[in-house]
């Protein structure tokens, strides 16, 4: 039983393997980009709005509200990054309804890539808001003895983000796979439902944690 979609290889050339993770990720990206292009192609400002445009407006407004509630003052600056994180993870987990589909977030490569991008984003937004020296000085708070612990916590947060998402999604798919060999009739359906729920919750948790980390890095202290 494959532990992750990385092991399902479609095509190989040298050391480059086209595995299920890459194929599914690109298919998802194409579907989301084309869908968004199609919906925002004809935006109506007043009058009757099409259903899809209303749906997208709800999603974007909700994400903006969440970002503002966490404490980031200008949510528009962070909306593209955090919105993309949430939408990609949510869509890739919800599409588990489709039969024969392996969520790419069930592979440690995808979740590590997402966690690394959050790490880089925290650095980037922190330096952009506070300047290089200001951001580096934030590592010395509350006392300079905390410097190694702050650095370690940066890396362990990134690691925890990756492992959390990977563990949740991988265990969801694996439980269904194991149950199919034991009680194939009704019980795997319930575990699939639970997998859908945890997929959405994990998408929300990932993006909220990214927002909290960015808010902690961009908080300007009054000295």
């Amino acid at each position: 039983m494959p532990l992750s979609p990385d092991e399902i290889v479609f095509w190989q050339y040298g050391f480059f393997k086209l595995n299920s993770t890459i194929a599914t990720t690109w298919a998802l990206m194409l579907a989301m980009a084309l869908g968004a292009k199609r919906i925002t192609g004809q935006i109506a400002v007043d009058g009757t709005i099409s259903r899809w445009q209303g749906f997208l407006e709800i999603v974007i407004t909700a994400i903006q509200e969440q970002i503002k509630e966490v404490g980031l003052q200008h949510p528009k600056k962070y909306l593209p990054f955090i919105g993309t994180l949430f939408l990609f993870i949510a869509v890739s987990n919800v599409c588990a309804i489709i039969p024969g589909y392996d969520p790419p977030t069930g592979s440690l490569s995808t979740t590590s890539a997402l966690a690394l991008s959050v790490f880089v984003a925290v650095l980037f937004f922190g330096i952009r808001e506070q300047g290089l020296t200001g951001y580096l000085r934030s590592y010395l708070r509350p006392t300079f003895i905390m410097l190694p612990f702050n650095i370690i916590s940066e890396f362990s947060r990134t690691f925890a983000l990756a492992i959390r998402l990977f563990g949740n999604i991988m265990s969801g798919t694996m439980i269904v796979g194991i149950l199919l060999t034991i009680t194939p009739l009704i019980f795997p359906v319930f575990m699939d439902l639970l997998g859908l729920l945890t997929g959405m919750v994990q998408a929300y948790i990932f993006s909220i944690l990214a927002t909290v980390y960015i808010a902690a890095a961009t908080r300007t202290h009054e000295e």
Partner: protein
């Protein structure tokens, strides 16, 4: 070489069994405190609920770490793969 298999299986079982005690207790305490604070201040419901979910996810990750270790021990065990490769090479 069945020793590797025996130890892996036993360790996988004990890892997930012991590793999910503490997170479950912690999550129970977190939810109970969240419920009592919701009862005291229903106006802050959205903040409390969101903080509760974030905290639950952080606590859950400890159990997830143990689960990942057991899964690796059972399904992607490198030592067992090494034994299999040696037995196949013989």
């Amino acid at each position: 070489m069945t020793l590797i298999a025996i130890v892996s299986i036993i360790t996988a079982g004990i890892t997930i069994a012991l590793g999910s005690i503490a997170p479950a207790l912690g999550e129970g305490r977190a939810v109970s405190t969240a419920l009592s604070s919701l009862a005291q201040q229903p106006d802050a419901a959205t903040t409390i609920t969101r903080t509760l979910f974030v905290g639950l996810a952080m606590i859950e990750s400890i159990a997830i770490y143990c689960l990942v270790i057991s899964m690796i021990l059972i399904f992607a065990n490198p030592f067992w793969n090494h034994v299999i490769a040696q037995a196949a090479g013989k």
